[in-house]
Point group: C2
Chain length 400, copies 2
């Protein structure tokens, strides 16, 4: 008997994926170079050349057993050591290898982190707007999802709304800064205030509340913006990191969980993650990729293109009178649509070969996301289309 | 709050892993070459050289985006196509790409397969002796595990016991042939009888019962033994396959589920697997490994060494009066211990630097497993130690 729960999910197809498929199909008609496809967050810049060279060296120099044998269930020791050292140096937090758990990208990391510090039936808070996949990630771990409505003025946190959601049943919350879809980074003030509330509530409820901090965009920060390290503000923090965006390896499934050494359960969390692996069929990221990434840990792809794209798009959006918060990083921007219904707005944009994603599935209706991890030349052409779209469909006199 | 369920699991450490750690530690004292370590099923032969060459060619020829970008959520189309064609040719079953779901090894495959065709609370039958990890794999998917006791005469199926376990709450069973730990293959007669019972019971209960067929040892078959293809006998079969053993890539996490095209839900099972992935943090096996394996699909490592090792060990066991079923494949053998308590037997063997795994965690007390995926030269030396161990600890007169 096929599982009812999963069968029902088949009808709820991802909007992002549907739009991406539409873009591909349209590309077959008019050439993909003419489709302004802002749907997917798939990095456009190549991985660092050091990664490719390291892979080749490993294939030449190491024996098959050393290279392709089982990783220990807690992960490749060199990878863990290298990550811990790099984080310690950078953030001045005394990470050691025992605090690092290699995972198959951020999705794998989150699957472990949430199961480790919650139990099925617990309440779990996420903040709108959010990456739509958080919904299945968390509900399928048996959690009772509570969504904190967006602060659309600056895309920080609506603390009033947040405090009404807190209850003794809340055991963890998930943060994503730099944020997908807004590109915004939580300020020091936001994180401090959040940490204070969580500490107070942990005492009041008699149990810890963990922060799961999803940080795949940590390396994509724009000029003159500070990215406060959440773990420095709150002990019970599990960082979920992925190399998908920083070194453009999304298909190779490599990331990790970094357990804050000051977390209440710091000593046992990695062993607990490896127990969770047994239930969900995880078995460490690929061995050769762990070994290669360990050697190029502090390299990044050439990420400057994303800021260049952002500035071009942001300026045009402002010129066209969009309401938009300027991104601090990532390769996303999240403007307010020119009409109340962002679905209708994005549907109309298709006629101009602009593929924009409505904000509804991100928990923020009325807005739309552009993933500008595409070539700058294409961004430039797309902005002409955007101008034409807005001027035709939403002439100035019609906007209040 | 750290999850109670997983915290409790920390105390139940895997016996295999403990013995492997003991072997490593002992190796530091006397040289690992002198420890006869039969604990782990980690392939000893290198991967086919074609795999290494293909990896290098891909790194040289393909762009970073093509090579390392996200795989589609249903898997790399070339990999799916290549697997389907190879299976069709070999087993004369009309597999197409839509029936193949790439997974991170057999563990990843099983995690998807069981969730797709059962619901939490269902009863699920496995057959002793079994790979100990099946227990966490299945219970953590919320299943109510029913263990069919072993047929120790031939390690086929005790059908009388099996039929008493069947009930309308049983929605799937798991088979593992060639079997870990016995090395035995289920005969045509066994599979036919099992299929007949399952078909009858499916009608009686008014719902299908799926076979999940875990086949990582499919390519390691010894001379003159036939390995009947379970999918040819029973439509509702999901094959879970891994390349870990056949091409010695256990660390790279590559395998697949092959949905029998005649299965009741054949058209929707792969889409359902991809929904399950969202909940358990799976996101396709590594992209470069999918691409490389697609090109060397029908290569295997040089597997002949395993048969050579088996024959040496089997002959000595018979000489020493062990009760043992001759393996048909794999790199395992599962003799009866020389005393009732296999734990005590294996503990005593340690003094002879023989690392043997007691059968209790495999659901078959009184027996022990030897994983002979080690060098033949070491096997030869180990058999002298085995002879000495048995002759000293269990002198002939003392055995009934």
């Amino acid at each position: 008997m096929v599982s009812k729960q999963y069968k029902e999910m088949l009808s709820g197809k991802s909007v992002i994926r549907q739009l991406s498929e539409f873009a591909t199909k349209r590309g077959l008609e008019i050439g993909y170079e003419n489709v302004f496809d802002y749907s997917l967050g798939n990095p456009s810049v190549p991985c660092p050349i050091e990664f490719t060279h390291t892979m080749m060296d490993l294939l030449k120099e190491k024996s098959s057993g050393e290279l392709h044998g089982y990783s220990p269930s807690l992960g490749n020791p060199d990878f863990k050591e290298a990550v811990a050292k790099s984080l310690e140096k950078r953030f001045k937090i005394p990470y050691e290898a025992e605090h690092i758990f290699p995972a198959t990208g951020a999705a794998g990391a989150i699957a472990h982190a949430v199961r480790a510090v919650t139990s099925p039936g617990d309440e779990f808070i996420i903040f709108a707007p959010f990456f739509p996949e958080y919904r299945p990630y968390l509900t399928l771990a048996g959690l009772n999802l509570k969504i904190c409505p967006p602060d659309t003025s600056q895309f920080q946190i609506d603390f009033e709304a947040f405090e009404t959601l807190l209850s003794p049943n809340v055991t963890a919350i998930l943060l994503n800064s730099p944020n997908n879809p807004t590109g915004v980074i939580y300020s020091k003030e936001t994180i401090e205030r959040l940490a204070t509330i969580l500490r107070e509530k942990s005492i009041e409820y008699g149990h810890s509340i963990y922060i799961i901090s999803d940080e795949p965009y940590r390396e994509i920060i724009f000029s003159n913006v500070e990215n406060p390290c959440i773990s420095k503000f709150y002990d019970n923090t599990l960082v979920c990191y992925s190399f998908s965006k920083s070194i453009s390896l999304p298909g190779e499934r490599i990331g990790y969980i970094a357990v804050n050494p000051s977390a209440e359960d710091a000593k046992i969390l990695c062993p607990i993650f490896s127990q969770i692996s047994r239930g969900i069929g995880h078995n460490c990221p690929p061995s050769i990729i762990q070994q290669a990434v360990a050697k190029v840990l502090d390299s990044t792809s050439d990420l400057a293109v994303y800021e260049k794209n952002m500035n071009l798009i942001y300026q045009t959006l402002i010129d066209l009178n969009f309401q938009v918060v300027k991104p601090h990083g990532t390769f996303y921007i999240f403007p307010k649509a020119m009409e109340e219904n962002a679905n209708s707005f994005c549907e109309k944009a298709k006629a101009y070969d602009l593929i924009l994603v409505p904000g509804d599935s991100f928990g923020c209706p009325g807005y739309f996301r552009m993933a500008y991890c595409i070539e700058t030349e294409k961004v430039e052409r797309s902005l002409l289309a955007l101008r034409k779209f807005v001027e035709t469909e939403y002439p100035k006199d019609s906007i209040i």
